[in-house]
Subunit: 380 residues, 2 copies
């Protein structure tokens, strides 16, 4: 079990009807004028926006708003917002939305103090400062509400890359599972697949980190079981709440404690995929890539892959476990092949090359172009 | 699933040979002169003291030392240390030891700014300030290295009570499982029982908090399995490390997320027991009380007790699970009855009365004197 540091300073306020606390949380931290970021407008339909702004007014917090952050959020949008707030005094960023909005907020929070936030994505500079970040989560998926990561796509370079910094942990995140009741089913599934994938990126690199791995198994099983429940009963609060909490824990440091940096090959391939095909949702892409990655890698850490097959899928055979996983994804109505995502084989080389632009990919095997093409073929 | 707040700011540095980082951690936080607290001297035998002081010297950190904090730490010792540091400028407390040393350090850190720290234990005043706390953990048991609690015994009042405050989270805790290799077996078992008990105090109050409960089951099973491994191989690093990490997670907020304040009846009874019999180790007392509490309470939250029996002990019968638990404790060489602890039946009423002095005891049943006597009889 290797040395590790666990330090997660985010304060989580979790539960029904907790959005109303946001104003008081900001006030307690001394915030006076904030930047409120949001997506396409669903928070106006489901009442979240009204609750947030009422709470801000009640606590005398001023705000500026920016809307229109899309799924697979793009650098150009972050630039646009950064440009428009230039010279304006704001003392915090509040993201009201899912991972896309939160990650854009994080990019703006750090970019506020930089010439060009992409330099941080490009690993040219380190983030040494950021505006304090607050979030109201509306879809459980990326875990960004309780971690130090953000992902954006640079459209011109077709690079969907990430930043990581201790300054990007939100100060406070409010998770009200009630607001997720109205999510389209497909988004619930995308979130669930993303969360399971986060856990697996760490889990499969494990050998002797038994406590972390058994927590990971518990989380994976919980996410699968809660998603099953939501398929037949989308208003099942217990399932929404447990899915939400599991997704937060899936990428807040706990699921990877002792597992160093994890693997993340599937994520990097998926990022290259949706950088080329922006309409492919991250969760949908992962649901296609990850089973193929497992098939390709299963001989590298045999005991752990078999333990996963047994403890999560109830079979001693890894291939059978992968099939069960794909059956589950199919049952949830999601794609399990690149064909269904309309990604032709003649794009595989391009996607492999894009994947490797980030540099080193793969934990227990350094990935080369041919490895990634092989994984894509298994996912075809 | 009720509303909850999860916020744990402690930074954990975990792994082999990590004690050497303490000086740099203190220096980064700007500390210059600290109070170092320790127990009976075992840290001089196992090299921990030398590593700590070398690291302090290397980072130009001055310190004053106080020794002699015993298991079941007492208020009079905290008073003695507080008296001796009066007027001295120190900017942090460093506990080098187990829960007793850490809890004394927390009491001193808060007591430094109070007329009488017992007023906080007595619920007369709230803790609004404390010296920053740092810890080097030498035995995994109480979880105090990553939580907001401290427990002390007021010997004259025979009250073993606790304080809880956000100011008592250690800033940094270093957990080096290597230093636990030399622990006497009985202390390893006491720690394991204490950690499982912390989880159970929350778990049994659960109904719909499925993610938390499945993590709790994973942690309980991990602690039991690792303790079994250590019984035959005390130098099994993997088992030491996973036991240590499980014990930290057992009481850092994770095991109780959504489970409100838990129950804690067994802990309060044990506290009354060891306030009357200071030689009874906390873990030993819990190993006797908790199985009796389960037997007494099993009809109050039937599904959860049965789930525990099934998922942790592999039986559908709660009584059989309790028997398996007692067999395990016996196999580990620990007592399972008050008789073995030399506590006579004519003390039961006194212990019950002492237990209730804290005020309200019990989550899903308000405990009365007769309830506690019945539990003690089941533990006889």
């Amino acid at each position: 079990m290797p040395e590790f540091i666990f330090h997660n300073p985010t304060r989580i306020v979790f539960g029904k009807d907790t959005i109303k606390y946001i104003g008081a949380e900001l006030k307690r931290d001394g915030r006076k004028k904030i930047l409120l970021l949001a997506g396409g407008g669903s928070i106006k339909d489901n009442g979240v926006y009204e609750k947030v702004t009422k709470s801000l007014k009640d606590n005398n917090i001023e705000w500026i708003e920016h809307w229109g952050i899309r799924p697979n959020p793009v650098l150009s949008k972050a630039y646009e917002i950064l440009q428009s707030i230039k010279g304006k005094e704001i003392d915090a960023c509040l993201a009201v939305g899912g991972g896309s909005v939160i990650d854009t907020a994080k990019s703006i929070a750090a970019g506020y103090y930089l010439n060009d936030i992409w330099d941080a994505y490009d690993r040219k500079i380190e983030i040494l400062r950021a505006l304090p970040i607050y979030t109201i989560l509306t879809i459980s998926a990326t875990g960004s509400e309780m971690n130090q990561f953000a992902v954006l796509t640079n459209e011109s370079l077709k690079r969907k890359w990430n930043i990581a910094s201790d300054f990007l942990y939100p100060r406070v995140s409010i998770i009200d599972p009630l607001v997720q009741m109205s999510l389209p089913w497909t988004q619930t599934v995308n979130g669930a697949i993303d969360a399971v994938a986060h856990i697996m990126e760490y889990y499969f690199t494990g050998t002797s980190e038994l406590t972390t791995m058994s927590i990971d198994e518990a989380l994976m099983k919980s996410i699968i079981a809660m998603t099953d429940r939501l398929m037949s009963s989308p208003n099942d609060y217990t399932a929404r709440a447990n899915l939400a909490w599991s997704a937060t824990l899936a990428l807040n440091g706990l699921s990877g404690a002792g597992l160093k940096d994890g693997d993340w090959t599937s994520h990097w391939i998926e990022h290259a995929l949706s950088a080329n095909y922006p309409d492919i949702a991250h969760g949908a892409g992962l649901g296609v890539i990850f089973p193929a990655w497992i098939k390709y890698m299963k001989s590298y850490n045999v005991v752990t892959f078999s333990t996963w097959a047994k403890n999560v899928w109830g079979t001693i055979d890894v291939d059978e476990a992968v099939n069960k996983m794909k059956e589950k994804i199919k049952k949830w109505g999601h794609p399990v092949s690149l064909e269904e995502l309309a990604v032709p084989e003649n794009m595989f080389e391009q996607i492999a090359l894009n994947t490797l632009e980030i540099g080193h990919v793969g934990a227990f095997k350094e990935m080369e172009k041919e490895d990634i093409i092989s994984i894509l073929k298994l996912a075809a």
